[in-house]
């Protein structure tokens, strides 16, 4: 009994976590398993996992920026158009004006940041709602894409394609795997172990806060490490010449960096403060305008990156690039537990949200479902996932998605004698049983 309670309380964090609150991870696992069986094992093949990563890297990159925009209480409808605009500018520069491709990427990032700053200026300093500014931006930059590109499809050189379709090189002894991918997996394992150890140590420093039982840590590490080892072997064991994709590495670096920024720095916390209560944040010394400006600028930057990765993967910039990307990114963020009114949400939640949609999409395509049905199912899924989360919040439970996306959330125990915790856990155990 007490072990069950410990497990519920500590495996993914949150005092009020219970079986239902692992919903999103369970959904993901369930969807993966379902399609793994339905497709006769195709879902988890190396080739499919690599393709999946490449197909959704750019949407996930957008959803990182979109998360911050939504947390700050705004929305950005222009990301697809900005991505398409940057894509055509870079493609033209690289192909027709002989700009070397690395410089082309820098140019793209600069263009994206500039567009973001332009939109940020209107939102932060003039006070036009972001919905309007970015609706205008959506038209503006879609038109810009067509104006510059003449609605043509402009190819990009081989070197540029690395960021969207590239792989790590094959180096070292022939192990039957891509050695660099193995190395990455090993590093990730080490990082996970270090983090668990550190979080236990930090908690020990807090007076009165006991760390979770050691066996919980071991269990959690076992689960995480087996997932990582499995994924590593799959990614490393694809066709010769393939590995964990370069776009996946870019995404991973961004996820780690932005998770850290939003959770562990003053700047990140200011974004949550502004979204939670702008006036209170202002009266606490947060520079409202600067936060809004930076969030929008950052979105422009990431849109540009996503656009370039898509162009690289498609080997060309086309007039249909970026259509409805904003909706995919927004859906990922909301499935990942962000609040429409701002102030809530996590980067990792959005990535999990995006991943669930990606696996769903991919699985449906593997079993040959038409794109019409795929859209219907995705629509229902979005509605269902967010409705469930809202329902759970209303019931006074902590958000399913919110809780599991803070896997290392520290939870000091309730002081002895507080009647709350035992009775709650009992009630929950009863409900679960």
């Amino acid at each position: 009994m007490s072990r069950v309670r410990d497990l519920q309380k500590n495996l993914f964090g949150g005092t009020t976590s219970n079986a239902r609150q692992f919903g999103m991870i369970f959904t993901l696992v369930a969807i993966v398993l379902y399609f793994q069986i339905r497709t006769g094992g195709l879902t988890l093949t190396s080739g499919n996992l690599i393709a999946l990563t490449q197909q959704y890297a750019y949407i996930s990159i957008l959803s990182i920026g979109m998360l911050m925009v939504i947390v700050a209480g705004h929305i950005d409808l222009s990301v697809g158009s900005v991505a398409a605009f940057t894509g055509i500018v870079v493609a033209k520069a690289v192909t027709e004006h002989d700009v070397p491709w690395p410089a082309g990427i820098l140019l793209g990032l600069a263009v994206g940041a500039l567009i973001g700053a332009w939109q940020g200026f209107w939102v932060a300093y003039i006070g036009v709602p972001a919905f309007i500014v970015t609706l205008a931006g959506m038209l503006l930059f879609r038109g810009g894409n067509q104006y510059i590109g003449n609605a043509d499809t402009v190819p990009v050189p081989e070197g540029f394609r690395v960021i969207g379709a590239g792989y790590l090189p094959e180096v070292g002894p022939a192990t039957g795997y891509n050695n660099l991918t193995l190395l990455l997996g090993l590093l990730l394992c080490a990082a996970v172990i270090w983090r668990e150890w550190r979080s236990r140590r930090v908690r020990q420093q807090m007076e009165g806060a006991e760390p979770a039982p050691a066996w919980i840590s071991v269990l959690r590490l076992t689960i995480l490490l087996s997932v990582i080892v499995f994924a590593t072997l799959r990614f490393a064991g694809g066709r010769v010449g393939t590995s964990f994709p370069v776009s996946g590495i870019i995404l991973a670096v961004l996820v780690i960096a932005y998770s850290f920024y939003t959770r562990n720095t003053a700047g990140g916390r200011h974004i949550y403060a502004v979204g939670g209560n702008a006036r209170a944040a202002e009266l606490s010394g947060v520079r409202l305008r600067r936060v809004n400006f930076l969030v929008m600028t950052n979105m422009g930057l990431l849109s540009a990156l996503a656009g370039m990765i898509f162009v690289a993967r498609s080997a060309a910039s086309g007039p249909q690039d970026g259509l409805t990307w904003e909706l995919d990114a927004i859906a990922a963020v909301f499935i990942g537990g962000a609040a429409v009114s701002g102030g809530l949400g996590t980067v990792s939640g959005s990535i999990v949200g995006g991943l669930v949609v990606a696996v769903l999409n991919n699985g449906l395509q593997l079993i040959g479902t038409g794109s019409d049905m795929v859209q219907i199912i995705r629509g229902l899924f979005l509605l269902g996932a967010v409705a469930l989360d809202v329902y759970n919040k209303k019931q006074g439970r902590f958000s399913i998605i919110g809780s599991l996306t803070r896997p290392f959330h520290r939870e000091p125990p309730a002081p002895p004698g507080a009647p709350a915790t035992p009775s709650r856990a009992d009630a929950k155990a009863a409900a679960a049983g």
């Binding site: 005092t15 009020t16 807090m206 007076e207 916390r269 006036r279 520079r287 939870e411 507080a418």
Partner: protein
């Protein structure tokens, strides 16, 4: 009187992790005014929500008998149908609609399926005269004062054919005149046979008006006192609410006042929207180290505006004026500047602008000075936890852990979190705007203690308050404000309500005694 209109028996209500009510009983006789007293978090509002069907039948244990029959309300409509109407502390009016539209919102008189506005206006006028509201029924609600808005709420209740009227802190936001009017109104209703339940912190009002008083503490009924029996006195109520005797409303304190260190001269501020209005007129004042300075004034006198405009120009359009700190003039252009110069402003409206209600206790405490827990650009979560923990202990914030969301805390404890948030910035001057509004007696006493401690540490404290006894009991010196101008300065030993009231209501500057 005599026979019970309402009887709630052994009501128990649990929320996940909290038992809000255990075994609470309440008997309200027909035609009486029944007061419910208790500290914040004692369960008063929960009890009323159970009664009005906000928490529907089945989510609580116990029985409700109303007009002699057992009632099982599934929602608010069901209880309203039975004539039970609740008026919440936060008014449920639509600001952009007219008085008539608000009175009949959700209850529109219809004719052939269309809203009959003629009948509605006619009936609205009747209801308005019933509650003593003299306004054009087409006036928008946002254009009338809080006191009148309260009357609109009551008129709205009458539109629903109310038999049992429940008022949750009806006078909390009202000035004395409006409060008195409201209490008179309740007496009038009693004459008409309408039963009222009133939740209030203001013991003098309770004493003046209630026929019976039920005291709740920690989700339990402590006692019900009948006023007619003559056993009522404030001390007894307070003892029941707090669970101990309160020797005095204010802790003992011997001030240690130092030099003048903060001075404002010729402070003039213009209203942000109507440009020809001056909300502060050539205001000048000083604060000494270790001194608690009061600002007395009626609502709308410009006290809050004065404070906020000084606090990093967060209100209005600054026209003129200088701020001196430790003898040197300082430029304070933004809130960040103000914090850097050691100023702190605790707002009167902690929910709207004082706290981020999505935050938990620990993140709220450190929110105004993240740099203090940042090491090499990274927030130190252990340090954040330690800081929050130490404030939880020293201010006795009632919360199981500092990870608790602030919304789960009672008003008094939220206020302590806001105080902690500003104490964390280590300010030289704290401006506290209505620091005890909506807070119960016990918590008030503690907050007074905290304020005195802050002063004793050599800081200056400004207390803005509408409650005269609070100012007189707490402050070493009191400025009076009237229509944006400082009209007087009274030392503690000379302060009496009458003198202050005179200065608060006249622009003639009286000679300083």
């Amino acid at each position: 009187m005599g026979n019970a209109l309402l009887e709630m028996r052994a009501i128990t209500k649990e929320f996940p992790g909290v038992r809000a009510l255990s075994d609470v009983s309440l008997v309200v006789a027909a035609g009486e005014i029944h007061a419910i007293c208790g500290e914040n978090g004692a369960g008063k509002s929960t009890l009323m929500k159970v009664l009005s069907g906000v928490h529907p039948y089945g989510t609580y244990d116990g029985d409700i008998f109303y007009q002699g029959r057992e009632c099982r309300f599934g929602d608010i409509r069901a209880s309203e149908h039975a004539g039970i109407v609740i008026i919440h502390q936060e008014l449920a009016l639509v600001p952009g609609m007219s008085i008539t539209e608000n009175i009949f919102l959700g209850n529109e008189p219809r004719r052939w399926g269309r809203i009959d506005w003629k009948a509605a206006n006619h009936r609205a006028l009747e209801l308005m005269s019933l509650v003593g509201l003299k306004e054009d029924p087409d006036t928008l609600v946002k254009d009338i004062g809080v006191g009148k808005q309260q009357l609109v709420e009551i008129a709205k209740a009458f539109a629903k054919d109310v038999k049992l009227l429940i008022l949750d802190e009806p006078t909390a936001a009202l000035n004395e005149t409006d409060s008195r009017h409201l209490l008179d109104l309740l007496r009038g209703f009693k004459q008409r046979g309408i039963t009222s339940i009133m939740i209030s912190h203001k013991l003098n009002e309770v004493e003046a008006i209630a026929d019976a008083i039920t005291i709740l503490r920690d989700g339990r009924t402590i006692e019900t006192i009948t006023v007619a029996s003559g056993e009522v006195d404030e001390d007894r109520i307070v003892r029941g609410m707090v669970g101990r005797d309160l020797e005095s409303r204010f802790p003992e304190h011997v001030p240690r006042i130092g030099e003048v260190f903060f001075e404002v001269r010729d402070w003039t501020v213009r209203h942000p929207i109507s440009a020809d209005r001056l909300v502060c007129k050539n205001s000048a004042f000083t604060v000494r180290r270790g001194e608690i300075v009061g600002f007395a004034g009626l609502m709308g006198a410009g006290r809050t505006e004065l404070a906020m405009s000084i606090f990093g120009r967060s209100y209005g359009v600054h026209l003129d004026g200088k701020i001196f700190k430790d003898g040197r003039e300082v430029e304070i252009r933004s809130v960040a500047d103000a914090i850097a110069h050691g100023l702190a402003y605790v707002s009167e409206d902690r929910k709207a602008i004082g706290l981020n209600l999505l935050d938990d206790v620990k993140t709220s405490v450190v929110a105004a000075k993240l740099s203090k827990i940042t090491r090499r650009g990274v927030l130190d979560e252990a340090a954040q936890y330690h800081e929050a923990e130490s404030y939880r202990k020293s201010l006795r914030i009632k919360t199981p852990t500092v990870d608790e969301p602030v919304t789960r805390l009672s008003g008094g404890n939220q206020q302590k979190v806001v105080l902690a948030k500003w104490m964390f910035t280590d300010p030289d001057l704290l401006i506290l705007d209505e620091p005890t509004r909506g807070i119960d007696v016990g918590a008030k006493y503690e907050i007074y203690g905290i304020i005195q401690r802050l002063a004793d540490e050599g800081r200056g404290v400004i207390v803005i308050s509408s409650e005269m006894p609070e100012l007189i009991g707490l402050c070493d010196r009191i400025y009076t404000v009237f229509e944006g101008a400082i009209t007087g300065e009274v030392a503690r030993r000379d302060a009496d309500p009458e003198l202050l009231m005179k200065q608060m209501t006249s622009s003639r500057r009286l000679p300083t005694p």
